[in-house]
Amino acid sequence: MSFKDTFEKYDWSVLEKEIYEVTPQEVEKVLLKDKIELEDFKKLISPAAKPYIEQMAQRSNAITRKRFGNTIQMYIPMYLSNECQNICTYCGFSMNNGIRRKTLSDAEILKEVTHIKKLGYDHILLVTGEANKTVGVPYIKHAIDLIRSQFSNISIEVQPLHQQEYETLISSGLYAVLVYQETYHKATYKTHHPKGKKSNFDYRLDTPDRLGKAGIHKIGLGALFGLEDWRVDSFYTALHLKYLQKTYWKTKYSISFPRLRPHQGGLDPKVEMTDTDLVQLICAYRLLDEDVELSLSTRESETFRNHCIHLGITSISAESKTNPGGYSVESESLEQFEISDERTTDQIKQMIQSQGYEVVWKDWSKSYVSVD
């Protein structure tokens, strides 16, 4: 059994129809409920719920403050490599993109870490493309071993791995894995991932199952908004979340909201997701689940991020570079996508504090994952 069995019980076009046919009365009924379920989530992400966003936001704010308090967690990504054997129509690292490839050496990784530590970070996210010969599991494991002593919390966003490979990395001190399905629309997924290991939709779909079985502490889920209708993709993400929470109950979950951003050889979004849409979605997730972490990256604009502090978001990054060596080694190497909020970490910290929130740098002890 895996999520695939649940996934196959649903039909994209049926869901789409259900979501678009929701009436305002149905939304109002949901908003009177104390406990929001998956069926209710469908109503909250519908076009009919748009006039109720303020109501949803007020409730989302109250729930988030109750469960997470007045805190926002900080993390920073570190790109280790832009080498990739996949063709993805929307990604700057795509194999058919004729750019110079770069993989950080030990010395370069440590130089980047020195820079990141000076900024104050204690939670780091390591990112690579999918190039098994150069940046496969041994490279990732080595990178974790190299930096483990300097961070309380190490996460990765890399290619899907086998269960045993995840187990190896967890025993090295890995805390979380972020793996986005990109889109849950199987046919669309194929058109955007025509070549490379990533073209295997089912293998990617079952990745969180392998992570759950491996005993990971946290799994990050999400869809890439722009490839397909965000409403239907988000329903599937929520379905995935609920399935995982019941199956791997010891694991924590987070949701991210990446929207397609410009990059070299870029792709225009098929379906636009406006700022209002994104606010609606953030609030809908919070109403569905009081405890899921909601994360917002520097893809979003300053104004948008400033306001999201009050909407249900619980963790954000700042000053991110999306190219390997971007912080201190090679600022000009190819970035995966352009960031939008370019403020410094210090500026973000001040913004958060000025809104009455505490900036949390450390919320994990590495000793919890390296006791074996």
């Binding site: 805190t71 010891k250 405890d291 009455g356």
Partner: protein
Amino acid sequence: MTTDILKIADKTFKSRLFTGTGKFSSTNKMREAILASESELVTVALKRVDLEKESDDMLVHLNGSQINLLPNTSGVRTAKEAIFAAELAREALQTNWVKLEIHPDPKYLLPDPIETLKAAEELVKLGFVVMPYIHADPVLCKRLEDVGVPCVMPLGAPIGSNKGIKTLDFLEIIIEQSKVPVIVDAGIGAPSHAAFAMELGADAVLVNTAIAVSQNPVDMGIAFKMAVEAGRMAYNAKLAPIKNRAEASSPLTSFLNDIN
């Protein structure tokens, strides 16, 4: 009022309100609220403290005053991890007191009774003063007492829920049976909930979210202090019994007094 001191292991407490450090908007605000509450025991999540940094912000703000730090093992999923975390805390914070929290479920943070009992037994042997966070399970409380914990900390409702005392029937049994202090932990969302727990006979309460997340944590800290004192005073004064029926002002059997 007579002196009513709470004793746990080798420490005595004038205040029966224990507090936490999470969820505040700033460490300054946290310190002000805790000082205002006059709490003498404050739990600190080990996972939030930077043990390698000599001047961790939170610890700097809590040092001095009458506050005793109680490191907690929040974040661990097994007895083994909890023991490791406790040892780390003992070394770093120079205290053998530990609030034992083992919650493999990251959503509701519900404590694992089996791992908690295992860890408590081992930690007591290692010389720790173990304060276990547990379900309101009377049998588990007795089992923990048997392995040598100096108090038990049953939950009133799921942590951070602010729902109040939802485990009333079981708390009453625990309080009735316990040989060690009973500290109601988790779920207390309003001073009235705290006062109620104290009226029931709880020896202390632990409150975090309700203070940290309020609009004015300092005033809320004071409100909880007063509620806990009022509840304790009421308990000591013995509450008037609750009656379901009215008591007749002209009793039917008073004539018996005249006959006898």
